[in-house]
């Protein structure tokens, strides 16, 4: 079993009177794909937002590579190697596909002054950006403005941008949301390939993909962790089936 990369202890986030994430203990191991499941409003996105520093936790601890990171700003956490994608498409529409990735790749050049650093390093950045596009099979779109690409391609571009930041841990919030069957399969393959080099945390509604991809799964309900374990264990869990899968089926058929 590989080492723990990220773990939380007693992580809690309140919004006014509402507890969105309640005392969550959660851990991610190196090179695994860890999926988070749960019905709408279970606190999945809030959890991701806490991990990426979008807002600080009300209580609890987050350790990344054995360093506490709670309370740090999103941009600091991103530069430490936690890359994330958003549930809504979040690319820069006026920039080309390649420029989007360059933008992502350059965060390691340093702050404002870094924007005028040497050409050599800039070239390294460009290479990294291209590589990310290649991984996501978007090279042929390099010079297309993001606004002109299809929705599915934009979602893929978003993953490419996360890749370009050279993360050690990727947090992907519903990467396949709103995609067609074919595109979903394509992205599933892509993510599977990434698992060799990266560690992934994934929120996804598509059951098939989750079961195919994930090494481990955490199921959340009402802000709490219902159960955590290897995919097979979750698949077989009565508790999960009762509470989550059943409800999910109803939702789908409703």
């Amino acid at each position: 079993m590989s080492a723990t990369m990220l773990e939380t202890r007693g992580l809690t986030r309140r919004f006014g009177g509402l507890v969105a994430v309640n005392e969550v203990d959660f851990d991610v191991r190196e090179n695994e794909i860890h999926a988070i499941l749960g019905p709408n409003g279970a606190g999945k996105s809030t959890l991701i937002n806490l991990l990426s520093g979008e807002f600080p936790p009300s209580e609890g601890e987050i350790r990344f590579q054995d360093r506490p990171i709670q309370g740090r700003k999103a941009q600091q956490i991103a530069r430490m190697g936690i890359g994330r994608s958003h549930q809504k498409t979040n690319v820069f529409p006026r920039l080309t596909c390649l420029q989007n990735c360059q933008l992502a790749a350059r965060i390691h050049l340093g702050g404002v002054l870094g924007s005028w650093r040497s050409r050599q390093r800039a070239r390294a950045v460009d290479e990294r950006a291209l590589q990310a596009l290649e991984t996501c099979q978007l090279v042929y779109r390099a010079y297309t403005p993001a606004a002109a690409m299809s929705y599915g391609e934009q979602r893929q571009l978003q993953i490419a941008m996360v890749l370009a930041t050279e993360p050690t841990l990727m947090l992907l919030d519903e990467p396949m949301a709103g995609m067609g069957r074919e595109e979903t399969a394509q992205v599933t393959e892509l993510l599977k390939g990434l698992a060799d080099t990266y560690t992934l945390v994934l929120i996804e509604h598509d059951m098939d993909s989750v079961f195919r991809l994930a090494n481990r799964i955490t199921v959340m309900v009402d802000g709490c962790v219902l159960e955590t374990g290897p995919t097979a264990q979750i698949r077989a869990s009565e508790k999960v089936r009762d509470v989550y899968l059943g409800r999910h089926q109803e939702e789908v058929h409703a």
């Binding site: 991103a78 080309t96 350059r106 965060i107 404002v112 800039a122 929705y151 934009q154 930041t165």
Partner: protein, 358 residues
């Protein structure tokens, strides 16, 4: 792609620059005895163009709407006025850096405070800081109060006693201002196309996402704020030099509003648009004032129409000339037809199927 425009933009701008540059050749023939005055007016337009360009970096490129940009314009004017010796010209070699330094420091302090706010709050805080300095200058003993101060000598441009440029000569001053606009334009063009500019574009489109990527967006905005402030202060210094006069009204929010109008007329975020806007604004006002003493009403209507019909300004017309079809679809025409109340959506975001919430 961003900040690359059709060839005709370059052609038009070069032609216009050339026409302005050779004004001494055609001015007297066209304006006769008024030629000297027209050159003076054109010098002023160039100065305002520099001012408007500096604001475009904030408003058009970064998307920070400032209603207090006159603060830096006035600061440039007052730094020149107060630092100039009473009975001899100051050397431009230390005056210009001083003006820039003062403006940079002020922009750093103000910027540090206002960058933390967003949207309407940013508009309001910049307005408040502008007004603060306005009242300070209006009431302080050392600044001549509401009457303002004279600057008796334009700075000298000398090297080792040899006069390089005689700024008192209107023609020389005209070309100095023209050169400043060209240099300012090239600088902003380079800036917007550099990686730094790309980050600013990113912040304009989606600051949140830039943070998630790992950018300390506040730093970038602050640097842009300082650059913009310094450019505006140079414009203010030139304006004070032109008429030898600095007054608190150069700092007031009405001046900030006027320069925003130049932006909308010219077209924001294009860098070259504001230059056209400054010229257009001054020409319009000059014309309206000649027409009627009720000219503000004409000016107001022009601005309202520009906002409603031509939100991308003159630059928008040049980059993307309207076709017959698009004219027919334009909101005022559509609005004339009754029963069609669909609000016009100006969203720039790509059309995408709405993703699920949750």
């Amino acid at each position: 792609m961003l900040h690359t425009y059709p060839k005709r933009v370059v052609v038009i701008m070069l032609v216009l620059t050339a026409i302005v540059a050779i004004f001494p050749l055609w001015g007297p023939a066209v304006f006769g005895a008024q030629s000297d005055f027209m050159m003076e007016k054109m010098t002023l337009m160039l100065i305002l163009a520099l001012f408007a360009m500096s604001l475009d970096l904030l408003v058009g490129i970064v998307g920070l709407v400032s209603l207090g940009h006159a603060l830096f314009f006035g600061l440039g004017a007052y730094t020149l006025a107060l630092a100039s010796p009473a009975f001899s010209p100051a050397a431009i070699w230390w005056m210009a850096p001083l003006v820039m330094l003062v403006a940079a420091l002020a922009a750093l302090v103000v910027g540090f405070l206002v960058i933390r706010t967003r949207g309407i709050f940013f508009i309001m805080t910049t307005l408040a800081f502008g007004q603060m300095l306005y009242y300070f200058v209006s009431t302080s003993r050392h600044t001549g109060g509401t009457d303002g101060v004279f600057i008796m000598f334009r700075p000298s441009v000398e090297v080792g006693g040899a006069v390089l440029l005689d700024l008192d000569n209107p023609l020389t001053f005209f070309y100095v201002c023209l050169a400043m606009v060209v240099v300012g334009y090239l600088f902003l063009r380079w800036l917007t196309r550099s990686f730094f500019g790309q980050v600013l574009d990113g912040i304009h489109d989606n600051e949140h996402r830039m943070e998630a990527l790992g950018y300390a967006t506040g730093h970038y905005k602050l640097v842009a704020f300082v650059i913009s402030g310094v450019m505006a202060s140079l414009a203010g210094m030139l304006a004070a030099m032109q008429y030898g006069f600095a007054n608190p009204s150069q700092l007031g929010w009405h001046t900030s509003g006027e320069v925003l109008m130049m932006l909308i007329l010219g077209g924001m975020g294009t860098v070259f648009g504001p230059i056209l806007g400054a010229f257009a604004y001054e020409i319009l006002q000059h014309t309206f004032e000649h027409l009627t003493t009720h000219w503000p009403i004409l000016m107001g209507i022009t601005i309202i129409l520009a906002v409603l019909i031509l939100p991308r300004g003159i630059a928008g017309l040049i980059i993307d000339p309207p076709s017959r079809a698009s004219l027919a679809k334009s909101s005022p025409l559509r609005w004339l037809k009754p029963g069609r109340a669909a609000p016009a959506s100006e969203a720039v975001k790509p059309a995408a199927p709405a993703p699920r919430e949750g």
